[in-house]
């Protein structure tokens, strides 16, 4: 079913079951966010994507990433109330991630350049804002290596018993989605160190560049039923081989 409503005065249409943030962005209206990613379900963790939703007599301030659109609502993305609450949330996040450029930039765009709150950093992940994008992504990819550990001010992201995990294949997808880029990944030409484990790379048979970790290859081949030699050459060499083949056909 289609629903119809307005965002900052603009008439928009969306499908029932869609989330407000996605609809707004599709219509070119930007709402800042930290814990949202198209690939995984939203959980409303960072509280940065606030908007004001008016429905009849009722006005609420809510996160837009996990707000299901409704017919006839009136959404405002930049009211004084929204700005006030977003600034407070960013000041709290700044205490968590004082060194994160992304958080600092968002905060200063909200007029927040310092925080009155005690820093609450967890050493191995110094700028982690507990958005759980890493956990959700790792789960979605079928690895299930990461979890939140503990709760309250002791909550953090980690592996069970803080031990290297059989499930982690070293794909580094967790880092690639991490808004503050706080997960430590160290690559050498032959190995990747991540989450307390070292993973050997498969090296491209043509140019010798790292293609994928061995463990990740084994996972991908068995899960997706790819041919055994799928990761023998890197993307670049595959492409140039394909274009050569193409050229030999054309000429």
């Amino acid at each position: 079913m289609t629903v119809q409503f307005t965002i900052d005065g603009l008439e928009v249409k969306a499908k029932e079951g869609e989330h407000l943030l996605d609809v707004a962005r599709r219509h070119g209206i930007d709402i800042p966010s930290l814990c949202h990613h198209e690939a995984v379900e939203p959980i409303g963790a960072c509280r940065v994507c606030l908007v004001e939703v008016r429905s009849g007599q009722k006005t609420t301030i809510t996160t837009s990433c996990n707000f299901l659109v409704e017919d006839g609502i009136e959404v405002h993305t930049d009211t004084a109330e929204v700005r006030k609450h977003r600034a407070m949330n960013l000041e709290l996040l700044l205490a968590r991630a004082p060194k994160s450029d992304v958080v600092r930039k968002l905060a200063s765009a909200s007029g927040v350049t310092r925080t009155r709150f005690e820093p609450l950093a967890y050493e191995p992940l110094p700028n982690c804002i507990l958005c759980e994008l890493c956990v959700r992504t790792c789960d979605m990819l079928g690895h299930h290596a990461l979890t939140t550990v503990g709760r309250g001010d002791k909550k953090r992201i980690g592996l069970p018993f803080n031990k290297p995990s059989d499930n982690c294949v070293g794909c580094a997808s967790c880092l690639s989605v991490c808004p503050t880029q706080c997960i430590s990944v160290k690559d050498t030409p032959t190995q990747r160190a991540i989450w307390g484990q070292k993973h050997d790379f498969i090296l491209c048979k043509v140019c010798g560049a790292p293609v994928i970790t061995k463990k990740h290859r084994d996972f991908a081949i068995s899960e997706k039923g790819l041919p055994e030699d799928y990761y023998d050459t890197c993307e670049k060499c595959k492409q140039s081989a394909a274009s050569k083949r193409f050229a030999s056909v054309v000429w």
Binding site: D139, H144, A145, L146, T147, T148, V149, G150, R151, L159, P160, F161, K163, S165, N167
Partner: protein
């Protein structure tokens, strides 16, 4: 003699069998049952439980760490808890705790090397009239004194060694 509870996989399996396989909603109940039998939640038990319930081991661990009541290190055969609520506190609970720490050679929250005792403190169990209060393996022992506690621990230790 080391009292490390030997990991009894059969026991773990039989505990798990009492819960429907694939029923993730039983997660917390399973954690309680496992701890009741094993006194703590070892890695292997969490792995087996995750398999049984069809959730990931990481999720199993994440949920378990959410609750204060679950332990991840082997715990003592006997658990001695000193109430540190206000009423017990003013009647000398800190001296009870010190006595126990000295006798057992372990800090509050810790477990003795021989895994005979775990020592804990709690903020009021609501039995203020009995204070100062020590709880030994679930039994409330009121009007406790450092000397009485010391004696009790010695007796338990002797018995345990046999």
């Amino acid at each position: 003699m080391s009292r490390t509870p030997k990991l009894d996989k059969k026991l773990i399996s039989s505990i798990l069998q009492q819960h429907k396989a694939g029923d993730a909603s039983a997660l917390v109940n399973v954690l309680h049952d496992l701890q009741a039998h094993l006194r703590y939640l070892p890695q292997e038990a969490l792995e087996m439980a995750a398999d049984h319930l069809g959730v990931s081991y990481a999720q199993m661990y994440g949920v378990a760490t959410f609750y204060e009541g679950f332990h991840f290190k082997p715990r003592g055969e006997h658990v001695v808890t000193i109430c540190m609520g206000t009423a017990c506190h003013v009647r000398g609970a800190p001296r009870l705790l010190e006595q126990a720490e000295r006798d057992l050679n372990v800090e509050s929250g810790g477990t003795t090397k021989d895994l005979m005792f775990s020592l804990e403190q709690v903020n009021c169990v609501g039995a203020c009239a009995l204070g100062p209060l020590a709880i030994v393996d679930g039994t409330y022992k009121g009007s406790m004194t450092p000397a009485k506690l010391s004696n009790l621990l010695k007796k338990m230790h002797k018995k345990g060694k046999k």
